[in-house]
Symmetry: C2
Amino acid sequence: MAEQPEYDLVGIGNALVDVVAQTDDAFLNSNELSKGGMMLVDTDQASALYDRMPPGIEASGGSCANTMAGFAALGGNGAYIGKVRDDQFGTVFRHDMQALGCDFDTAAATDGPATGRCLVLVTPDAQRTMCTFLGAACLLTPDDLDKDVIRNGRVVYMEGYLFDQPPAQAAFIEAAETAHAAGREVSITLSDGFCVDRHRDAFRDLVEHHVDVLFANEVEICSLYQVDGFDDALQQVRGHCKVACLTRSEKGAVIVSGDEVHVIDAAPVSKVLDTTGAGDQYAAGFLYGYTRGMDLQASGKIGAITAAEVIQHYGARPEADLRDAVAALG
Amino acid sequence: MAEQPEYDLVGIGNALVDVVAQTDDAFLNSNELSKGGMMLVDTDQASALYDRMPPGIEASGGSCANTMAGFAALGGNGAYIGKVRDDQFGTVFRHDMQALGCDFDTAAATDGPATGRCLVLVTPDAQRTMCTFLGAACLLTPDDLDKDVIRNGRVVYMEGYLFDQPPAQAAFIEAAETAHAAGREVSITLSDGFCVDRHRDAFRDLVEHHVDVLFANEVEICSLYQVDGFDDALQQVRGHCKVACLTRSEKGAVIVSGDEVHVIDAAPVSKVLDTTGAGDQYAAGFLYGYTRGMDLQASGKIGAITAAEVIQHYGARPEADLRDAVAALG
């Protein structure tokens, strides 16, 4: 194995194709969907909801994959691990990841459920409500981990959504152990408040014992510690992992690392069109700086820029070329 | 059969899913693609080009289907006839058409090639260059025509691209004869200058003997008559069909019907982002007015509005609700 890591970042997540449609509150209400949340649905539920949905646009998605897309767009060198089926959506997902310059060599499943889909309903207030049919993404197991890839990455980054399926949860733990055994770092995002509710104990154990760099928004970190106030959550997370990046939408982000605390303002935006992808792209920007050895303040500023870009257009992956803006930060 | 037609418009076309990616002139040149044109490719060529393409967005497309989408968005009552396969892209295409309120009941093919795809390369000058893998769309034959649907439509509208496959060409002719036998009108678009080059004699025969309402842009109508100047083409087309709508991008459109000639300015646009879909949406707007019994001037103004909307955003189907703007015309 080369002494120098081959990859800056290795991402592991649910490989999904988004089906994005514009809708309104009445549609969410009549389908009993909780605005802004991510709900898991089975094949039949996904199919029934899709039948009622307005026309959509299909685009590769998946939280961690979106982060890897942003990371690659900044010039970062990444690899992705996740499970698709050998179907048309799986081909689209793989094409898009590889076309971005992110390695993605996990074998596609040859039977079982179709490539996973996230039905994304965007309301006029720029919020996204998501119903995810995990499909083949469920089939990710420890056997799918290319351990040489993990050992060759400076940081392995995983999404909390993986905890929704036991085999993926096992893969999550094994990837973390593989990375640590090779002297690498482990980073996770808590992904979603409801996801934290579903797996609170497992996440607490992870954050206390396995995670070097944690990403969480205000709802997620408060859910993790079952506290009402952000500052209470902040006090609890300090010391639990090497670095915690706590994002607060327009209030910016707080980055804590032992005694070091940074409060970084959100980057200015002219008009918010579609908020999701913000967390994914914040992580992409922060980790781009972090894996290049930048300090926490500079890394946090990059995260603020990449998050601001993605909420000003539809879609969860960056459209603008941010390399110049990031280079200007030094 | 009811005396009152059930449908305002029945569209017949190549059912395709667009795969849209941003690219540059260098990419077009290195892949020997002629900017602004539509090139037919086979499975292997489509696959090889897709492998080289940047990440894309998938959306239902197909020229005539885009027109039907715009027609439905204006409140028109339409039905579509076209061929997909029973695969994921076919499901997306059917969902999107039905979700728009356009009936689409042509049976999906259960074997043979996959649902057709159009690889769309958008350059920074807002032009689209298209490579189409027709796939299952090729399989459209006269047997797929639901003749009751055609007899129940005020106007049957067909895309010239259908002429690229003999069985679809036969379906085209049979649909026109069915419509005329039921006292309905037949409308076509010439689709593309290269398409006219490939099938000039057949198109001339159609325009002279079978078509009531013709849509063509400047390149297409000049190609049809093998003349260099627009006015020469205009003089030739007069009298060949009941109505000819000749579109000229920012110069607006000329509508001729016997001795009646209208020169309608283009509607104002603030910024052109993506020009294709302009012709499809012009036809949607014009036919919306025309099938409601509006005069040619009013119908032409609606076409100008719907064409202007679609070139101001990415994608070939309308995003804005134009019903108020159209109602204001009167």
